[in-house]
């Protein structure tokens, strides 16, 4: 009874702190600060703990209610010592979580731990949720107003058309009333040849237009044929709806974190599933922005994460791998012909070219597609225009000096370095 009272007092106290904090951004050193606690939690605890869900370690929501504060201090600072010492509670946790001891955090002060506990205990006040409503609706209102403007414009046009017809009718009526002949005389009409006949009888015009038609159809035929095998914009449906927009855009994950082979290999590499699990071991559900129009709801994304778990064989309940895997069969988007040798490392690591230069705004792509045409002309253009990054690279030291003297330029393009030679890419 006393304990729960205490808990209630804590909550009230914390709420008060939050309110004060929100207004003045000042905080007394002695009070537990849930905002500082959140930072500490994300930095130290989030890798293994979640608030409401069991992860590598137990869920931490309301942990202060379960354990004594002093006990928590010593547990967080050195859990294995407690296990060794045979503390009953400590051993129980240790047994429950596959006999893996929690990492020790001796660097955390008691105050830090208080802050963290404050954060884990913090429940946001209910009215705050309703307040968010209109704010979220605001962007939606933007798109609707566009439609309204268009609709209004259409209405205005329709009214104009109706008005014109009415005016025309009225004028005709007035003309008829005043006895003015509106139709031209029939003889005049017959004497005038129709335009198409005049055109057909003029041989020069016929030849001219035939030539024009042939040339333009050849132009379009050529344009069409040149597009054969060019898959620009190819956007296949993938077995898992993987959103680069969320990963590279919203979460700003560096491309080469997942596509690490691009640094050393000719292939950028499709990340193996263990790379996904580096993060998704802890991120089991999606909590980011939704795109309701396309049906990309939180549930939708969470379902896609479950697909990853199925493929990699991750048992969420028990937080362990089952060993039953089912490799993901991605549909390849960028596919160069076999007779072309392309090396990612050369461009990404040596040339320090941004991935986006060729792959486009990947961070904005909800579904990945081929941005560039990947034709030889496209490659060559870039080689002609792009300067080679020679700074701080011993390899280029001598060559660059000699070549820039030869060409009389400061910077050398890839083409001047021999990047247009057939055999550099075709062997």
């Amino acid at each position: 009874m006393r304990k729960s009272n205490l808990g209630a007092v804590h909550v009230v106290k914390n709420l008060f702190v939050v309110l004060v904090l929100g207004l003045s951004f000042t905080v007394s050193a002695q009070e537990a600060d849930p905002i500082a606690g959140k930072k500490l939690f994300n930095a130290n605890c989030a890798a293994c703990h979640k608030l409401k869900k069991k992860a590598v370690g137990p869920a931490l929501k309301g942990v202060s209610a379960k354990y004594d504060k002093e006990w928590l201090y010593s547990w967080i600072k050195n859990s294995s010592a407690m296990i060794k010492a045979g503390d009953a509670q400590a051993v129980a946790i240790w047994e429950e979580y596959n006999r893996t001891a929690m990492t020790a955090f001796p660097q955390l002060s008691d105050q830090d731990i208080d802050n963290i506990i404050a954060y884990t205990d913090y429940t946001p006040p209910a009215p705050a949720a309703t307040a968010a409503g209109p704010v979220a609706a605001a962007p939606a209102g933007d798109s609707i107003s566009n439609d309204i403007i268009l609709g209004a414009l259409a209405l205005v046009f329709a009214i104009l058309v109706v008005m014109l017809i009415l005016v025309n009718k009225t004028l005709k009526k007035i003309a008829a009333a005043q006895g003015i002949e509106l139709e031209p005389k029939t003889e005049e009409r017959e004497a005038r040849r129709p335009l198409w006949q005049a055109f057909a009888q003029n041989q020069f015009l016929v030849i001219l237009s035939v030539v024009f038609l042939l040339l333009s159809s050849a132009y379009f035929a050529y344009g069409y044929l040149m597009q054969v095998g060019v898959d620009q914009g190819y956007m296949p449906v993938q077995p898992i709806h993987y959103s680069h927009k969320i990963h590279a855009g919203a979460n700003q994950i560096e491309c080469k974190y997942c596509h690490s082979s691009a640094r050393v290999s000719k292939h950028s590499g499709i990340p193996s599933l263990n790379v996904c699990m580096n993060c998704h071991k802890n991120i089991a559900e999606y909590n980011g922005e939704e795109d309701l129009e396309n049906g990309y709801t939180k549930e939708f994304y969470t379902k896609e994460i479950k697909k990853l778990y199925a493929a990699v064989g991750w048992d969420e309940e028990n937080q362990q791998y089952t060993g039953k895997t089912e490799p993901v069969k991605w549909v390849r988007i960028h596919n160069l012909p076999d007779f072309v040798y392309f090396n990612h490392a050369q461009h990404v690591q040596v040339g320090q070219i941004e991935c986006q230069t060729c792959h486009g705004p990947v961070e904005e792509m909800e579904i990945m597609y081929q941005y560039s045409p990947l034709t030889m002309g496209w490659c060559i253009n870039c080689h002609r225009e792009t300067n080679v990054k020679v700074e701080n690279n011993e390899y280029y030291a001598k060559i660059h000096e000699a070549l820039s003297k030869k060409y009389g330029v400061e910077k050398l393009t890839a083409a001047q370095m021999g990047g247009l030679e057939c055999g550099k890419c075709h062997y």
């Binding site: 898959d231 050393v264 290999s265 490799p327 280029y396 370095m417 021999g418 062997y427």
Partner: protein, 1023 residues
Amino acid sequence: MAANKTYWKNTEQLNEKSPIVDQLEQKEFAEYIPVNEFLEDKEALEDSSTSRRDFLKYVGFSTAAASLAACEGPVIKSVPYVVQPEQIRPGVANYYATAIADGFDFASILIKTREGRPIKVESNTDAPALGGANARVHASVLSMYDTQRLQGPKANGEDVSWDDLHTQVGAKLAALAATGKEVVLLTQTFASPTTAKVIADFTAKYPNIKHVAFDTVAAAPAIDAFEAAYGVRALADYDFSKAEAIVSIGADFLGDWQGGGYDSGYAKTRVPNKHHGKATMSKHFQFEANMTLSGANADIRIPATPSAQKNILAHIYAAITGTAVSGKLSQAHQAKVDAAVAALKAAGDKAVVVSGIQDKGAQALVLAINNALGSVVMDAANPRLTRSENGNEVKPVIEKVISGDLGGLITVGINPAFTLPEGEAFAEGMKKLDLSVAFSMKEDETASAAQYIAAVPHYLEAWGDYEFKAGHFALAQPTIRPLFDTLQFQDALLKWTGSETSYYEAIQNNWNSNILEGTSWNTVLHDGYYSKNTASEASYTASDLSAAAAALASAQASGLELTLYTKTGMGDGQQANNPWLQEFPDPITRVAWDNYLTVAAADASALGLKNVNVANGALNGSYAKVTVGDKTLTLPVVIQPGQAKGSVGLALGYGERKGLQDEMQVGVNAYAFYNNANTVQEVSVSLADGYHEFACTQLHNTLMGRGDIVKETTLEVFNTKDKAYWNAIPVVSKNHIEEQVTSPEVDMWQAFDRSIGHHFNLSIDLNACTGCGACVIACHAENNVPVVGKEEVRKSRDMHWLRIDRYYSSDDTFEGDVETKENIAGLGDSLTTFGRMEQAAENPQVTFQPVMCQHCNHAPCETVCPVAASSHGRQGQNHMAYNRCVGTRYCANNCPYKVRRFNWFLYNKNDEFDYHMNNDLGRMVLNPDVVVRSRGVMEKCSMCIQMTQKTILDAKLEGREIKDGEFQTACSAACTSGAMTFGDINDKESKVSELKENDRMYHLLEHVGTKPNVMYQTKVRNV
């Protein structure tokens, strides 16, 4: 009006109402056409479910479907790893050190793997013993991807599980042990310390089992002689890099003699090294019957029949040791023996005598001679352990198998039912045994005769440890997971012994406790080799050899003497299903896809045997009936210049057999003649009907006195005369003034500026090149060169990017050829003389010249290409853009070096060319960095641009300059003799720039003015 005209067709129409006219009007065709028969044949019509309409529908649909399919690209699936192994990055090659020990070839090697697949073999040049890979070892990676391999164990012809096999064999072994019946474990030579332990444990558990080593091509007499002299069953090793005088009597030490691998040491002393202005090189005498690689490279080669070789050895022994010997040599031989003895004596302890005579006495004499010389070349202290057969042990086993007096037989890594002359009887005998188990990769003759076939992995899928040479160890590790349900022999044996350990653990335990002295296991596994306790002295026990010398001195033969040999490509024949090796042209005869009887020209004309070139140039040879004892084979004949009169030669390893694809069933099984494991047999030869069609890649064998193609000089001239005398730059005339062809005055071309960046050059030293052909196979593997088959090779459509031309002199020497040509006077004389010069001399000088694309700076091929598919790079490489090529073949016609190869057909995924590129397994060996060419496309050596580009990229990634030696091509990396040096001539410190300035340097066909980036170093002979 005109349409009403009627024409008379015949006179019959004059007769009104003629029945014939009526008939013809009714029926258009007078003769009976069986249309009705078919249409009335209800069955035929009902059987056929396709009506004409249906047919048209199908045609229409398939056309539409084909055109639709062509419009849309195929959907390609990419499947990443679930858990990516740390070491594997797609697109980056990994190298592993391992070792091959297949009973014939032993070597420490590196394996290049891509995405977990082994794709290439490289020499492990750091290894102190046997670190060089020969052509067969280079090709062995393809043997792993062999469709004929056993995919799992079998019992009595049926597939079984390993558990069943273990239980059944275990029960039989126990039963045999209970009765005490003898069981023989007949294995290849392993030279493996841990295998020896495993076998010892096994035979300790089953005392009735006896282990006997069996070498397919044995060296038993040499081992016996070594044992008698040094007390160890092994073979003396030789370090030819220390030699100043080498006398070989019938030992093809540049080939497979005693396991081979001597060429790199040999080549070191063959390059004239200048000290204080005077160059020295070793002097090499070769007495032999067949023309071998060693003979071809010798300074002085003396043809001698096997019996004459014995006499010669006895006389050399006598001369060196100062004893007397009976008998007389022929005058020619005596003179050369005297010269050889003088050279040996002059060289002192840097002299060596080696012999391939299969006779214990002869081998004892050789050891005695080398001891008398005090030879430092011979290493008896650390002998080779790569052959171990003891004839006295093997012979009774074979007899017992045939007679059925044996309880059981377990064979490992050998195929005695094929490689024994009494093979068929052996196979029959095996079937009668209580237990027969064959550990084999193929369902070969022995395996199919055995009750149980235990499928073993390829060496690249297995663990192993070896002691190639006393004190020199090697480790083998798997480079890929076993492709099939196979089990290593040692693992099976451990299981049968009742041990729980795996062979891998057994090796590790054995090494940690007995071999490694503090060195970490991981270090050795990484390096692939380990050396320790190398002894410096061996105690030689002299014995009385006068009887042996006398026996040799009096050796005589009555008829023709046959010397069986192993071809550079085929070896003992265990890799016969390897298309790279089948298509590999023999370095001497340049014949691929065959074995044949080599006959001296004089004997051939006496016997009426002929070689002719048919209309398209291809070589045909007579058949000959060859009889040894009661066995007769019909063999095609190749007339071999340099073959000793009275001798013939024949290669082992060929012939029809089981476990071999139809296309590879070529040649004749010469093991039928391999009586008593002796390579020398007395034969009778007679002409047989018909001609055999050879696939020979070189149709013109002599140089016709064109000394500028293979430039040669003698050591004496090299030392005394100016470069201009023996390596003159050709001159051309401009405005009647002679100018050197290298002068810009006579250059019509605008040259690229190649002074900046890399400029690649390849130097080929004709002195160091032994013609071993490792580069040819390495090139095949690196560049996805297709195999085209015998018929296509015969049409000169072979695809080798790198060929090794072999030339014979038509006079006794090449210098003589040049003189003969110079002395031609008048048209009549030129016709007769040139006609005569097409024939090689009886004992010609031989020279090898590797020729690949010369990467001309002024390339004739580039100017004639109508689509600019052939173009030049600033780094000196002549590029070939396959996707641009339309196949006019102008470039090939305009190439003075004839190095361009045309894809007459699609050689991959084509049932007409059913080699490795036609099955999923075989295609695993392809190098993913090099495109597989299609039909109608010209291809050629690219100077391994994928390798040079890789080296450059690595340097860029690491931000450093490139060191000399980093740039390599597949051929230069494979060349263990150091004949090929590749590098950047803009790096003035590099070895190749030094070679470019060398006095011996010349370009092939320099007078054409192509300015090639491949250069040759003039051959210097120490005559």
